[in-house]
């Protein structure tokens, strides 16, 4: 093949692609409702794994070895006087490598008033029923495990007469770490399953598309269209379904995030963290959108190969 004829052929190929491209767009637009339904199903299917992925990856950015996480809440006896409390705090601070914040019953009431909104009701109490509270945060020496440090403090505190109750949130965090491992595995499993769902949904839509356009396919074949030209618009349709589905998924996900972001940040801030939800970045968005397009393309490919073969077997496109 000489260079000129090659160039001519590749130009013709390019133009055929663009005709198929616009024809597929035209089809999607002329069946607006059907397109919308398919895209909606795909969007919901893809929003779920995206949401879980972002949740898990955000939680994983938490450094579970940070000292703040190990804060122990120590409720003291109601008999414990301020002097006693300060004495205990100093002891913990000096002998047990932990920083201590003491909260008086008055401060505790103030905090509770603010956080709960029970302002008026609380005024009904004549005496403040709250005890002194110590917030004990271990200082980790090099290489020390937060879990061990917390356990060490806990054991010592339990023995003290002034101590009424020791509350350790750290156990909850350890469970969270376990859950995150599970969550990550779940993201992988769900991503595979929902990707498969996208392929199947698009394949089914394209199957109906092929069936409803059997007559057009016959005519195209009669006037000399090759496999590629017949197949191409369906592949583009599949691509569009997937692409639009992924875009909708991102919109749905961000709407969900908008509602969840504040409560989530408040929850995590209460553990002393300045926490900000990290959304999917620009390259992540592009990746998701094109992954959607690719999955749609794949579904269309599977479907179109299969059903064009069936049409051909039926003899509609000639018996050769």
């Amino acid at each position: 093949m000489n260079r000129d004829s090659f160039r001519r052929r590749s130009r013709a190929w390019g133009r055929r692609q663009s005709y198929s491209f616009f024809s597929s767009l035209g089809t999607l637009l002329s069946h607006r409702l059907g397109t919308l339904m398919t895209v909606l199903v795909l969007g919901i299917a893809m929003a779920l794994p995206i949401g879980l992925y972002v949740t898990v990856s955000n939680l994983r950015t938490l450094d579970l070895q940070r000292e703040q996480w190990g804060t122990i809440t120590v409720f003291l006896n109601s008999e414990a006087a301020e002097a006693q409390v300060q004495e205990l705090a100093k002891l913990i601070n000096l002998d047990h490598q932990a920083s201590v914040e003491a909260i008086s019953p008055g401060q505790g009431m103030e905090q509770f008033r603010e956080a709960s909104g029970f302002g008026q009701t609380l005024d009904l109490f004549e005496d403040n029923p709250l005890p002194w509270v110590l917030l004990v945060t271990p200082r980790l020496s090099d290489g020390e495990d937060l879990g061990e440090a917390v356990a060490r403090l806990d054991a010592w505190l339990q023995e003290r007469a002034e101590v009424d109750l020791v509350q350790i949130d750290f156990k909850w965090l350890q469970r969270l770490a376990g859950l995150l491992e599970l969550g990550q595995a779940l993201v992988s499993v769900l991503s595979v399953m929902f990707s498969l769902a996208v392929v199947v949904v698009v394949a089914n839509t394209i199957r109906l598309d092929v069936a409803s356009r059997a007559e057009e396919i016959e005519v195209l074949s009669l006037v000399g269209a090759g496999n590629g030209f017949i197949r191409q618009p369906f592949l583009y349709s599949g691509f569009w379904y997937g692409l639009l589905g992924a875009m909708l998924a991102l919109v749905l996900f961000n709407l969900g995030l908008y509602y969840l972001q504040q409560p989530l940040e408040r929850l995590l801030d209460s553990y002393g963290n300045q926490f900000e939800v990290v959304n999917i970045g620009g390259s992540g968005l592009v990746l998701i959108v094109f992954a959607g397009g690719f999955l749609g393309f794949l579904g269309a490919w599977v479907s179109v190969q299969r059903y064009l073969r069936q049409l051909r077997k039926s003899g509609m496109l000639g018996r050769l």
């Binding site: 013709a12 133009r15 005709y19 016959e218 195209l220 000399g224 000639g318 018996r319």
Partner: protein, 229 residues
């Protein structure tokens, strides 16, 4: 341009549609194919278009032996042939322009060229200005002419027609055959299957007669008696 050598076609059902048919069409010839219903006319055209494969014998079109051509080459063969169908085979959800432009889109021609050629083809069949019409809104005769425009728009060297006058009144049928003759005079090889004997006779062209799948007669144009069209 078209050669049949001892061609037989047996359908899977067992029906023998063609039996050892042999003939040859020169480039630029215009030939009518006639015979009663079920004689094998459509089958013969479908063989040329590679919609069926001959059971025995050779079909040679434009120098290519179709019996030895792979099925994936069929589109290439069909692009060199303009086919007109009795039931038009138009797409009703596409405009006249989109219908007629199909072969050019498939060939990947430039859009401005496509516009020019579609307009010229519609001019030729007397449908100027109907580009934006919907096929369903047109009369039977007009729809048939859209089909012809689509068949000729890519300027194929061969034009086939299967009972193109099937649903048309005698006046329109005569016009249509006149159009075929005009296209033929521009060098296109034309093969028209029809059972309208009176009309065929008036054209004074070569006639192939099929009877129960056999080529019963091959009459040259000069041997046809009767009033000229």
């Amino acid at each position: 341009m078209i050669t049949f050598e001892q061609v037989s076609k047996r359908y899977e059902s067992g029906a023998m549609a063609l039996r050892e048919v042999s003939f040859h069409l020169e480039p630029g010839e215009m030939v009518f194919l006639t015979g009663h219903s079920g004689a094998g006319k459509s089958t013969l055209l479908r063989l040329i278009l590679m919609l069926e494969k001959a059971t025995r014998g050779q079909v040679i079109v434009d120098g290519r032996n179709l019996s030895k051509t792979q099925s994936r080459q069929a589109p290439r063969v069909r692009r060199r042939i303009g086919m007109i169908f009795q039931d038009h085979k138009l797409l009703n959800d596409k405009t006249v322009f989109d219908n007629v432009s199909l072969p050019l889109m498939i060939a990947g021609e430039r859009y401005p060229d496509i516009r020019k050629k579609v307009r010229a083809a519609l001019d030729k069949v007397g449908l100027s200005g109907k580009e934006k019409s919907w096929p369903m809104r047109l009369s039977g005769g007009e729809q048939q002419r859209v089909g012809i425009a689509r068949a000729i728009v890519g300027m194929p060297p061969v034009l086939l027609a299967d009972e193109p006058t099937g649903n048309l009144d005698p006046e329109l049928s005569r016009e249509l055959f006149g159009l075929f003759r005009q296209l033929n005079s521009q060098g296109v090889t034309v093969l028209v299957a029809s059972h309208d004997l009176a009309l065929i006779r008036s054209m004074r062209q070569r006639v192939l007669v099929l009877a129960q799948g056999k080529l019963a007669d091959d009459i040259s144009g000069s041997d046809i008696a009767g009033p000229a069209a």
